[in-house]
């Protein structure tokens, strides 16, 4: 199963992706977490120390370092995974697609989007779960190009701007033929808020995640919420989301 996680910046994509990956791994699944943001920080939400998040080499950067050019054939996705994957807590494998490091280094940016598309598209996922944390906004969802077999999580918090981006993400996912679109209403203050988001997004599956000081606290410290308080209300909701994802398959 492949899951693409999309939404506005700050909606909680990485928090959701990180917790989901860890919970699924704890439940015995093989989990590959893809950080598709050219400003990568999924490693933080997965519980890796900041130092190793800054030193890990994303696929595209590592290929370019080794003299790879546009005209060279890209190695198969599984080969890339074994070369550039990093082990995160609970046995999750983290791999980043590309990182922007300076203002004008060739065409890294469209390159990182391209790498995301190719890697997300080709990585075999028959007996494992691939969770891709996309770049903020809608652009990366188009690049990742999830298909009918894939799942899209549209993450939003309560602000009107965030809901609007998630609504558009749902429509794009429909346009791409994605059959399972789950809205994740994050940082909700009440059940009524979840209903409002559900109404605005117009998808059948909606999961509410409550506002949770434990998550905010972990976020401010640069730690994975699951390592700070795995039983807090938001994390309990994300564990349920993890179960729900795999239960249907």
């Amino acid at each position: 199963m492949k899951v693409a996680v999309a939404g506005k910046g700050g909606s909680g994509k990485s928090t959701v992706s990180g917790a989901l990956a860890r919970f699924l791994a704890r439940r015995g699944h093989e989990v590959i977490a893809i950080d598709a943001d050219p400003n990568p920080n999924l490693g933080i939400s997965l519980g890796l120390p900041p130092g190793s998040v800054e030193t890990m080499r994303p696929i595209l950067n590592a290929l370019l370092d080794s003299g790879h050019t546009h005209d060279d054939p890209t190695p198969p996705a599984d080969e890339l995974l074994s070369r550039y994957g990093v082990e995160a807590p609970d046995g999750v494998t983290l791999v980043a697609t590309g990182k922007i490091e300076r203002p004008s280094s060739a065409c890294l940016c469209c390159g990182s989007h391209n790498t995301t598309r190719q890697f997300f598209g080709e990585l075999p996922a028959d007996d494992r779960v691939v969770v891709a944390d996309l770049e903020a906004g809608l652009n990366d969802l188009i690049w990742a190009h999830p298909g009918p077999q894939d799942v899209v999580l549209a993450v939003t918090e309560g602000s009107a701007k965030s809901v609007e981006v998630a609504r558009r993400a749902c429509r794009l996912a429909e346009e791409l033929g994605v059959s399972r679109i789950i809205a994740v209403a994050n940082r909700m203050l009440s059940e009524a808020d979840v209903e409002v988001v559900a109404g605005a997004l117009g998808v059948e599956e909606v999961v509410g995640v409550p506002e949770d000081p434990a998550v905010e606290h972990a976020d401010n410290l640069g730690l994975a919420p699951i390592d700070v308080d795995p039983g807090s209300p938001a994390l309990a909701a994300l564990d349920q989301l993890a179960q729900r994802l795999v239960a249907a398959t």
């Binding site: 700050g10 900041p50 300076r102 203002p103 652009n139 609007e164």
Partner: protein, 310 residues
Amino acid sequence: MRWLAVERQATTYLRHLASWAQTRVLRDRLSTIAGHRTALEAHGTRAGVELEAFDEEVRRRAVADLGVRVAIMGKGGAGKTMICATLARQLARRGRKVLAVDLDTNPGLSMSLGVGPSAPGLGPEALEEHAGASYGWRLAEGLTALEAVERHSTVGPDGVRFLAVGKICSVDKTEAKRSVPAMTEVLLGFGAPDVDVVVDLEAGLTTPFERYHSFADTVVVVVGPAWKSALTARRLLPMVGERDTIVVANRVGDEPHHPGLAPRVRVPFDPCVVHAEREGRAPMDACPTSPATRAVDTLGDVLLTKEETA
């Protein structure tokens, strides 16, 4: 003020040229670039000489009236759009002419500014296909930056002019992006000396990579309380190049500021603004005198004072 504008325009173009000259793409056109550089330097020098001739008091007042050029960056969710919209309206309430530009292909600034969702933006009639342009489109030949702003912007609350790029609403990879290079042309070429230009950029590191902030004299980096927000700010700062940078800490409580990111302006956590954002209302309409919107007004002070002492 005209000579101030000429001087600034020359400096902006030179800065842009210098950053382009570092790219692989343009190495073969270095001689053309050298030609442009010489011409621009001549303009700059001429402007400098003219400015010298003015009385110091006249010059000081002209500098104070000169519009600011501000790019707002940061991690997604840090509060870029809220700061941008509120800054634009606060500057306008001081009686200044303000152009607020949304350079993000995701929706947002129109809501925080209070101009309504249907503002048209830089539409197809302002663009033309061009093989050499990124995404294959550029500003239509013969359309100047000033004309583009006059024809395609809308006037919002407090008289703020608003201009946006296209928004992503289909799976076509480039459709919404078409207007982005054109908008950067508009921003670089917008010479109106007395208009403040504040621009909301897309989240993350893509925008400095693409040099979308080339037009700006000042870059405002917005950082929220989250550790990852600080990480993004630390990655952004070395990428914005030689220009003034102002760190604005947003949604702060009583926690210490992030190490190495001393904020010039602290915008407090403000329930009224949170509420306005939930409802999709402009903070300046919902809470014009609450702590956060007043703090953003002090960012205006910082920007304008800097101009006077420049």
